[in-house]
Amino acid sequence: MTTCAPLLELRNLQKHYFLRPNLLGKPTATVHALDDVNLTLSAGETLSIVGESGCGKSTLGKTVVRLHQPTDGQILLDGRRVDQIGGAELKAFRARVQVVFQDPYSSLNPRIRVRDTLSEPLHNFGLAKDAAAVTQRVEELLDMVGLPRDAAGRYPHEFSGGQRQRIAIARALSPRPDLIVCDEAVSALDVSVKAQIVNLLGDIQKKTGLAMLFISHDLAIVEHLTHRVAVMYLGRVVEVGNRREIFGNALHPYTRALISAVPQPDPMNKTRRKLLTGDVPSPIAPPPGCRFNTRCPFATDLCRAEVPVLRAVGGTHQIACHYDNLVEAAA
């Protein structure tokens, strides 16, 4: 791993959504989608974001690529702040930082042929030399994501869900970005195509130093491809570490629960998985103290009163828990 300044750095990042303003223009409720997130990502590295539905993963992705404005905190790219930039600076930023969304159909323009979808970033960011170069790049991109070249002339509705997802991936790779945010980008693909795309991204990463922020519910895939993992719960990062630290030695009770709930692809082994019980608290009124305390089997009074901060526990491993290894300590 590199020791130079990280490509991306998030400092105390916060994103709140304000719902339905009342007549006085004051919001009636606030969704605490992200609170106090501190993360770094280096060139050539993959950082995965995992956590329950609604914990703020997509919000993190959208904020990093500047589709959402952070409520507070800083985003740095190559050590320079990018959370306030606009105009030409923002355009240059967009050429370097690309995103693949969770729901590809809504992000592909139904009236635009695949060829134009893929070449648009080239024109947009002034990366197109001439028509022949554009055609060549489009074909290269289609080959990369395993779509036939005749796909270029077709419209999004003529493709299956997984094929549209690949179009979105090809579009993101088109301007040769430095950072790509993949939000459930391979979830809609069958295992074999998924493997091809994941391997492709890995190859590009090795060749070009592409950095990836990989958001996924598929922990087996994450374990396979990632360098580091950040586990989120209700808008906060609760544990960060490299893949061995997280998958081999998770310390936060939430991470433990998350990993033990993964279903096994074996019909003979339908052992009841250990699932978390208790209601997921609403991000509109997150519980005081540790946000996980309402579902944590080991929670103490301290957990209900004080917010644990993310702290180093050896190696690159960090946890936000008042205790060092609560699961084992309680056993």
Partner: protein
């Protein structure tokens, strides 16, 4: 009791550059109270098959043949008016892309409420109460508040659960769920599967589950069909398929499932196992076996003659010329 019988379904799309042979030959049966999983390569025709059953393909470009018998009637011959009575009432569907199937300008409550009022004749107030119950059932936190929000204000997984709530609302005889759990975390996923199981136990709903997640299939399906390039290539009881896959594509699929534990291996993240090669183009007719080009066992026969789906043992069929002489080698 047999609820659904699909025989030799074929769906071709008309396009400027000729026909797209999306579904070429798909057959299966489904009984009341049972769950059938459809798995297969991306683009193999799973969604098109389910849209055909729902009668939702654009008749101007899509051509269906074969038969889809549901409750004694061939759905392919029904008028749009007759289909509309069946859709949402007798057959419910969870679509693959929740954002496109939810109306962006209607609040979540209105969308669920309208389905309930249309199909169950509930009053506005009763529909709202029931909609909140349904949201609670699919584990959306603070449903009383969420019900007035718009789809873009929900996370991906929440939108998916709203779709599931709508499909479950009318307690259909047949529920088609296209990738219902893709964007869900394992906890919510398990809850959604439990919900579908509950509904099935209570009302005898038959379920068609389309998914790439072979863990989910193992968990919930009674039988599985495997599709490749618009064809059924294998059909079996779930446990039988996992223990004794016969088609080389099925074998490849089962062998490439990533499993937990890879970080214990030494070294950097490794490459994932893939099935090399690409699916054939659906624009040209395929002579022979559609998988032949990627199959390491293929012989001349495979490239010249299309294999038909044949029963090899009790309840286990496969379309492969070599299934008898141990492709498992």
């Amino acid at each position: 009791m047999e609820l659904l019988n699909v025989q030799h379904l074929r769906t071709h799309f008309r396009s400027a550059e000729g026909a797209v042979r999306a579904v070429e030959d798909v057959s299966f049966r489904l009984e009341t109270g049972k769950t059938l999983a459809i798995v297969g390569e991306s683009g193999s025709g799973k969604s098109v098959t389910s849209l055909s059953i729902m009668g939702l393909l654009d008749k101007k470009t899509a051509r269906n043949s074969g038969s889809i018998t549901f409750g004694g009637r061939n759905l392919l011959t029904l008028s749009e008016r007759e289909m509309r009575k069946i859709r949402g009432n007798e057959i419910g569907m969870v679509f693959q892309e929740p954002m496109t199937s939810l109306n962006p300008v209607l609040s979540v409550g209105r969308q669920i409420g309208e389905t309930l009022r249309l199909h169950q004749g509930l009053s506005r107030q009763a529909a709202r109460t029931r909609a909140i119950d349904l949201l609670r059932l699919v584990d959306i936190p603070a449903p009383e508040r969420r019900i007035d929000e718009y789809p873009h204000q929900l996370s991906g997984g929440m939108r998916q659960r709203v779709m599931i709530a709508i499909a479950l609302a009318c307690e259909p005889k047949l529920l088609i769920a296209d990738e219902p759990t893709t964007a869900l975390d394992v906890t919510v996923q398990a809850q959604v599967l439990d919900l579908m199981r509950d509904l099935q136990k209570r009302t005898g709903t038959a379920i068609i589950l389309i998914t790439h997640d072979l863990g989910v299939v193992a968990d919930i399906a009674d039988r599985v069909i495997v599709m490749y390039a618009g064809r059924t290539v294998e059909e079996a009881a779930t446990a039988d398929l996992y223990a004794r896959p016969m088609h080389p594509y099925t074998k490849g699929l089962l062998a490439t499932i990533p499993r937990l534990g890879s970080s214990l291996l030494p070294g950097e993240p490794a490459r994932l196992e893939e099935i090399p090669g690409q699916v054939p183009s659906l624009r040209k007719p395929i002579h022979g076996c559609a998988f032949a080009g990627r199959c390491k066992f293929s012989v001349d026969l495979c490239r010249s003659k299309a294999p038909v789906l044949e029963r090899k043992s009790e309840g286990h069929s496969v379309a492969c010329h070599l299934a008898d002489n141990g492709v498992s080698a």
